[in-house]
């Protein structure tokens, strides 16, 4: 029983104090899992993280699900995922319900307009980080080829992102392996 409580705490804290989405909360999860509760060594954690990054989907819940499962089976996975997801989701729903209620107020309209450039820049910075990762992993030429091809596919030829992503994975398996 105490194990489930520990899992709950270990994933609740990164979910509450971690800003910037799942990837930003990884060091906090590592602290709980490796330093505090010693469920894994730093090396094991790094391996699981590397694998988690090679698989699709949100990273925080993949880590929570896997570590929870290792520590406490299916129930452990459920506890860890719930602790990761629920607190911030509840806050999100409460805040947005308020926002929707006052949707037509000029203040809320102004708020929407004012925060949009900041959000745009945030996405732009994130885009830049992905370009940088690619530059370090695949080099400048491959990065430019992939940028141009995926831009044309998505923007000019209107190909659904699903096909573009599968295409890129195939390209990587053949040309970057």
């Amino acid at each position: 029983m105490i194990e489930y409580w520990h899992l709950f705490i270990a994933f609740l804290i990164p979910g509450i104090v971690g800003y910037g989405g799942g990837p930003a909360s990884i060091p906090l999860i590592e602290y709980e899992v490796v330093q505090r509760f010693s469920w894994m060594t730093t090396q094991e954690f790094a391996e699981v993280l590397a694998l988690g990054n090679a698989l699709p989907g949100p990273i925080a819940t993949k880590m929570a699900g896997y570590i929870g499962y290792e520590v406490g089976g299916v129930l452990g996975a459920t506890v860890a995922i719930s602790a990761t997801v629920i607190p911030s989701l509840v806050a999100m729903i409460v805040l947005l319900k308020l926002l929707v209620k006052y949707k037509n107020s000029p203040k809320v309209k102004r708020m929407t307009a004012l925060i949009r450039p900041a959000i745009a820049i945030l996405l732009g910075v994130l885009a830049y980080q992905f370009f940088q990762t690619s530059y370090e992993a695949a080099g400048l030429v491959q990065t430019i080829i992939l940028i141009v091809l995926s831009f044309l596919a998505l923007e000019r030829w209107n190909i659904h992102p699903a096909y573009v992503i599968v295409g890129a994975l195939t390209y990587g398996a053949i040309f970057l392996a």
Binding site: E47, P56, Y66, P117, L123, A137, L146, I147, A162, I165
Partner: protein, 193 residues
């Protein structure tokens, strides 16, 4: 939500399942995919609403993807929609992770896996960049290009040069917008707030 709208729940499931299974690089990297599904494919909300949701998600702590999935699912399909969207975005990838980890540990260093991982990064970058551009264009329409560019430059300096946490800047903008007195005829409302 008294009756269960099955086709709607199916659409919610499909949209977030696709988003989860196609998103490489963690939750934030899947934002353009969520945008594609909920704004373009299913038309559940417009750009403005999506950008508000994204802003609040960024202001609050915790994973981005599950906050967005949970809220959008809730808004589109009630409590059932919330559970559907969360399950679709989280469960398949967790199950894959648990099931495949022992197999994958042997192939982690395999060049083919490395190649696939490095090829996906620039594509995610392009998708994020397109969404950036889309938001900036809308901002120009809302605020005029002078204010839009000024706010963008201030944000860029705050995030990149000063290392200010995004939640602080967004939080400050929200508070400013809500507390500042509205011009002339809305004065009364401003005093009441």
């Amino acid at each position: 939500m008294t009756t269960l709208d099955f086709p709607l729940q199916k659409d919610i499931f499909i949209s977030f399942f696709r988003t989860g299974m196609l998103g490489y690089g963690g939750g934030p990297a899947t934002i353009p995919l969520v945008h594609k599904e909920v704004v373009e494919t299913y038309g559940w909300m417009d750009d403005e609403e999506f950008s508000d949701i994204l802003a609040i998600a960024n202001t609050l702590p915790g994973p981005i993807m599950t906050k967005m999935a949970g809220y959008i699912g809730y808004q589109v399909g009630g409590k059932t929609g919330l559970v559907t969207a969360l399950a679709a975005s989280v469960l398949p990838t967790v199950v894959i992770m648990i099931a495949l980890i022992s197999v994958l540990i042997n192939y982690r260093e395999a060049p083919i896996v490395q190649g696939m991982t490095s090829a996906i990064a620039p594509v995610v970058g392009v998708m994020l960049f397109m969404l950036t551009f889309n938001f900036l264009r809308h901002s120009k329409k809302d605020l005029g290009w002078k204010v839009a560019i000024a706010l963008s430059v201030v944000s860029l300096i705050a995030f990149e040069l000063l290392g200010l946490h995004p939640a602080i800047l967004i939080g400050a903008l929200i508070i400013y917008a809500l507390l500042k007195k509205s011009p002339s005829n809305n004065k009364k409302e401003g005093e009441a707030a």
